[in-house]
Amino acid sequence: MVTVVFGFLLLPVVIVVLTSFTTQSFPAIPQEGVSLTWYAELLADQKLLDALTVSLIVATASAVLSAIVGTIAAVGFVRGEFPYKEQISTAMLLPIIISPVITGIALVRYFSTVGLSSGYPALVLGHTVLSLPYVFLLVRSELLTFDQDLERASRILGADPVTTFRHVTGPIISPAILAGGFIAFVVSFGEFTATQFLISPDTSTVPVVIYTMLRTGLTPTINALSVVLIVVMLLLALSSRQLSSS
């Protein structure tokens, strides 16, 4: 029974990977041998490579931005004392609660009103907002289990707040910040629903390209592109684990 549930959870991904090596022109389990035809096709398609570049740039930029903003907010909320703190901190979680389709149309309208073009600025800011709650939650829970006497000691010994953060708080919570950044990268790299509104003609991301390909008919190139997406994300997951534990 439990095996069936594990299978249910994992088989869709396994199927996508397996069928990318087919020799047929439809995603099928390779039966007469394995081929890399569809990966070659992928490498020859400039549009797909461009989308991959855009995805990487946007994900990196929004990961850095949301790691910074999320950490600042988490420090403020955990260390600061002010009325209605808990209630106000719920605002940081709103981007998870509101459907991304609503976030998408709201942002694209707003950005065009304030004169910010769609494409990179819109994508980076949009993805930052969407991944911010995860960074905030991670860093917040790290700060809650943190011995505050260390910070007090540093301040009493004469260090200013920024130096205290750089030498005491920062290093201790850095695994959480790093993990948050990686999660933000992955959220951005895989986001489709809000993204479809924020792209411009030359800033399609990989999930948007995959979605368009799904609409126009199934070819194993979609699988090959999906596998590239999976590999990038899993490499990130692995390195985040490695870095966080060291």
Partner: protein, 287 residues
């Protein structure tokens, strides 16, 4: 007396000195909320004036259209599919969590397998399910059975449950894992069988995790765009699809905004009702 220092140390020190006493933690929290406010809350709030036909004789035109049967159906479907997905997902997640906590000695491996899909894009996972359910897909190839599920309601529920399952396992696992083993032993010693112990001891104690999991799955599933877009047919359109369609295909920003406002109000209303039974702050803290 200030000591001259060079490089990064000097720079942080300089910035720190300047900021000392001027920037408090309250400012830092304000910065975070300000960022979310400027790039999220204000844009969402602006959908309200956007949805009104201001200056015209019929400012609520779009809202009147929302009450049209086909749109009401899309709302009902969103909340219904959200609820169905929640039930299915919670059942599967409880089974997995229970197994990991009480009968597995390879918890790390099991947890890794559950968390790995979280690192894989939704679109890829929906695509995998699409392949699985395709009449000419790999499943049909291997077994000779042609599944007839694609573009039906079960296909959408299967997809949503698959994608949100890991989100449900984490809080349930945590609450099951936090149960004091002595309580279970006590129940067994006092003569309760396995099922009675589950019903009277384990299940009530795991309720906070279950509620948190249900809440997050329901919110995510009801607002899903990709699930019905990839796995459903025209009869499975949920509200996110209708909103996207009116915006991208019909360029009707006012109507899309009206739908978005109504959906958000309904969802928040539901959450407030929920809040009268369970404390939302506490539940969110569980996630």
């Amino acid at each position: 007396m200030s000591v001259q220092r060079s490089g990064l140390n000097g720079l942080t020190h300089l910035i720190g000195d300047r900021l000392e006493g001027r920037v408090s933690n309250r400012h830092l929290a304000g910065f975070g909320v300000g960022f979310v406010g400027l790039f999220f809350i204000v844009p969402i709030a602006l959908l309200v004036p956007e949805s009104l036909h201001l200056g015209s004789a019929t400012p609520f035109e779009s809202y009147r259209r929302v009450t049209n049967g086909i749109y009401v159906n899309a709302f009902v479907r969103s909340f219904l599919y959200g609820a169905l997905t929640t039930v299915v997902t919670l059942a599967l997640a409880y089974l997995l969590s229970y197994f990991l906590v009480f009968s597995s000695d390879r918890v790390r491996l099991g947890m890794t397998l559950i968390v790995v899909p979280l690192w894989i894009a939704y679109i890829v996972r929906y695509f995998g399910i699409l392949l699985f359910l395709s009449p000419a897909g790999p499943f049909a190839d291997l077994t000779g059975i042609e599944p007839e599920l694609l573009f039906t309601t079960p296909a959408v529920i299967i997809g949503l449950a698959n994608v949100y399952l890991p989100f449900a396992v984490l809080p349930i696992y945590n609450s099951l894992n936090a149960i004091d083993g002595a309580l279970i032993d006590a129940s067994r010693v006092l003569g309760a069988d396995k099922w009675r112990t589950l019903g009277k001891v384990v299940f009530p104690l795991s309720l906070p995790g279950l509620v948190a999991a249900g809440l997050i799955v329901f919110i995510l599933a009801a607002g899903s765009f990709l699930g019905p877009a990839v796995l459903g047919g025209p009869k499975q359109t949920m509200i996110a699809n209708v909103i996207a369609q009116s915006f991208l295909e019909n360029f009707n920003i006012q109507f899309a905004s009206a739908l978005a406002v109504v959906y958000t109000v309904l969802l928040v209303g539901l959450l407030l009702v929920f809040n009268t039974v369970f404390d939302l702050q506490e539940v969110l803290g569980n996630i």
